[in-house]
């Protein structure tokens, strides 16, 4: 079973994402900010990370840069999942090492499609 870490400061979004991911046969864990996510990744690197952009403590972009410089740099696929839908944000995310990008709001089909693109579904 593949593992997915959902990183979002919204409990509601985490719950919705967890529900969809579990129907796609993922084992899901959660983190409420980038710092918590980084600690989780160092202890147990997931196969894929669903990552929000704007979060307290450590943003999604700060987390992604730190992850890609860490000892597990290339291990998890990172799919940004954010309301930041502008082209400049998307380009910045790709440049920082994001593998895919989901623009909120999203549904099951969208998420499944993006996970397929990164080879995880």
């Amino acid at each position: 079973m593949k593992t997915c870490l959902v990183v979002d400061d919204s409990k509601v979004i985490r719950k919705v994402a967890r529900h969809i991911l579990e129907t796609l046969n993922f084992a899901v864990s959660e983190a409420a900010d980038g710092r918590e996510a980084l600690d989780h990744c160092m202890a147990t690197p997931p196969d894929v990370i669903l990552l929000d952009w704007n979060m307290p403590v450590m943003s999604g972009m700060e987390f992604l840069r730190a992850l890609r410089e860490s000892s597990i740099a290339d291990k998890p696929k990172v799919v940004f999942c954010t309301t930041e839908n502008g082209m400049a944000h998307i380009r910045a995310a790709i440049e920082a090492g994001a593998d895919e990008y989901v623009m909120k709001p999203f549904d099951r089909d969208t998420l499944e499609s993006k996970l397929q693109i990164v080879g995880m579904a």
Partner: protein, 286 residues
Amino acid sequence: MASQATPQASPPASPQAIAVLTRLLEARTGQQLASARAWRIDTALRPLMRLRALETLDQLVHLLLGGQEAALSDQIVDALVNNETSFFRESPVFDSVVEATTALEGEGRRARVWCAGCSTGQEPLSLAMLFAERRDKTGRGMPEILGTDVSEGVIHRARQGRYSQFEIQRGLPIRRAVTWFDGDASGEWIAKPELLRHVAYRPLNLMGEGWPIGRFDVILCRNVLLYLSAEAKALMFTRFAEVLRPGGLLVLGAGETVIGQTDRFQPSARVRGFYEPVVGGGRAVA
């Protein structure tokens, strides 16, 4: 105090009204609407009914049969045709199409690819992206890509190359989205002219008289034939065989096959999952 109106569901359509609508769809497009999918009729035609302040499908059918609105039958067919599509749907197929086309291209001859039943254009644009990437990598020229659909409405949309955020996220990798599309203030994504110009779109009824569109190296007709009657399918296979160039290939949807449907095509020995005309084939299986 005014009483509050309670929204009420519209009464179910009569079997006669459903029969008129399904017969119209089949006569125009060959598509059959299975009884299990009859629920789609009300949903699909609701916008047309709303425009005319009609409450029931029977009223819409009455208007249709009255003949006062010349365009109404076209609009009903447009609404009933299943336009489900997405970018890179069943994605491995697209790489195979590019490989097969590359093998078929002669020296200096431009290949022709036809997406029959292309809906709003995601399939031909997916191919155009791959061929443009091949061009940038190898210097090979672009093939001619034709997209056709029975619905003038979806061809109009395809020509515009505008996609909602929902549509752009289904199947299209984000790197290709930012390379080949521009975002606009409304949240829509618009195919760049340098991509869009590689696809020619035309309305075309596959059941219509003659296909004045020339011959092709590869024909994609995916998830179209499954809605057709056995007779209509047999006719399609015969006509596809006639417009394929020697060595040409037919690509069907994942749930579709030629086996048991026609003797005009057989599974291709060159490309797994594709079909090629049978030399000397000509008898349709009823």
